[in-house]
């Protein structure tokens, strides 16, 4: 039988993922503006090299197919590790916060560091029984400049 993981072994755990597959580029920015019907000339202007700040998490999401890659990288991999360790197959984001530092610019390649900030006791909600946890994700560019910090509060559960 699987031993129960200890919450204290997970709090503070940190993981730096390999740099993102996607380099910030104009096509993605336009796709984002298209999806949110955003007419802001700050981003449509062809001389501008700035991505909308709300795009922050786009730059860490891996490609679903890469030649020769046998495993799909999971964004927010610590979240999935926690789900597996605590045997909680389903999960929802209950709250999220973004703090936006230097803008991500065309050509930037982003690396993320995830940290587990806290894990709750077991709780039962409308959807099932599980735990809330908080993961901070710090986004840095190729020069180490901090672009933003995202905090995800998740509820992972079993029906």
């Amino acid at each position: 039988m699987k031993t129960q993981p200890r919450v204290e072994d997970w709090i503070g755990r940190e993981r730096t993922d390999p740099p993102g597959d996607i380099v910030c580029e104009r096509g993605y920015i336009l796709h984002w503006l298209e999806a949110t019907e955003n007419a802001n000339p700050k981003f449509w202007d062809e001389s501008s090299d700035i991505a909308p700040p709300s795009m922050l998490s786009v730059w860490m999401r891996p490609l679903q197919f890469v030649p020769g890659r046998t495993e799909t990288f999971m964004p927010l991999s610590l979240h999935f590790d926690l789900k597996e360790a605590f045997d909680l197959p389903d999960g929802v984001v209950s709250a999220s916060e973004m703090t936006l530092h230097a803008p991500v610019r065309i050509g930037d390649r982003i690396t993320t560091t995830q940290t587990v900030r806290d894990i709750s006791e077991e709780k039962t909600t409308r959807v099932g029984t599980g735990r809330f946890w908080t993961i901070d994700v710090t986004y840095r560019d190729q020069d180490g400049e901090v672009k933003g910090v995202e905090t995800y509060e998740m509820f992972s559960y079993k029906r």
């Binding site: 019907e37 700040p53 709250a95 916060e97």
Partner: protein, 155 residues
């Protein structure tokens, strides 16, 4: 265009209503590279998640929130912080309504003019997402929050 001196606590933003189509949900998922099935697979959303249809993903909601805010501030508005809590899913077929009000106006030590806001995203009067945001706006006609870097930008 909004400048810092013409904003006050209590100001109300014009509401925005968007009829969310399956295309919005799928394009939102695609543009944020989020391939979790509940954002593109109706069968999964209905049978597994037990909602009526595919629904907007978290990063795409952040994108809509930024768009709603900068529609109001104009292009010099620069988002500093946004926090939101999702209470119910926003599904294809829903009419999503954005409303917002200014909660505070301040200037920091570097001279950046900040506006704090509370936003509500509702569907048929039910709160889908509650949000607080902090966005920098110009303190004068020749100021631009996008020119701030390093220690001068404290979001």
């Amino acid at each position: 265009m909004i400048t810092h001196d013409n904003v006050s606590a209590g100001d109300v933003l014009p509401a925005l209503e968007v009829k969310i189509r399956a295309r919005h949900v799928v394009m939102g998922a695609s543009s944020s590279r989020d391939w979790q099935p509940q954002h593109h697979d109706t069968h999964w959303a209905v049978e597994r998640v037990k909602v009526k249809d595919i629904f907007l993903n978290t990063p795409n909601q952040a994108g809509w929130i930024e768009r709603y805010l900068t529609d109001w501030t104009g292009p010099k508005g620069r988002l500093g912080k946004v926090r939101f809590k999702m209470k119910r899913s926003v599904c294809a077929g829903d009419v999503l309504r954005f409303e917002g009000a200014v909660t505070d106006v301040s200037t920091d030590e570097s001279g950046v003019g900040w506006v704090g806001l509370d936003l509500r995203l509702t569907v048929e009067g039910d709160i889908a997402t509650e949000c607080t945001a902090r966005i920098a706006v110009p303190v004068s006609a020749d100021d631009d929050p996008w020119s701030r870097a390093g220690d001068e930008w404290r979001p």
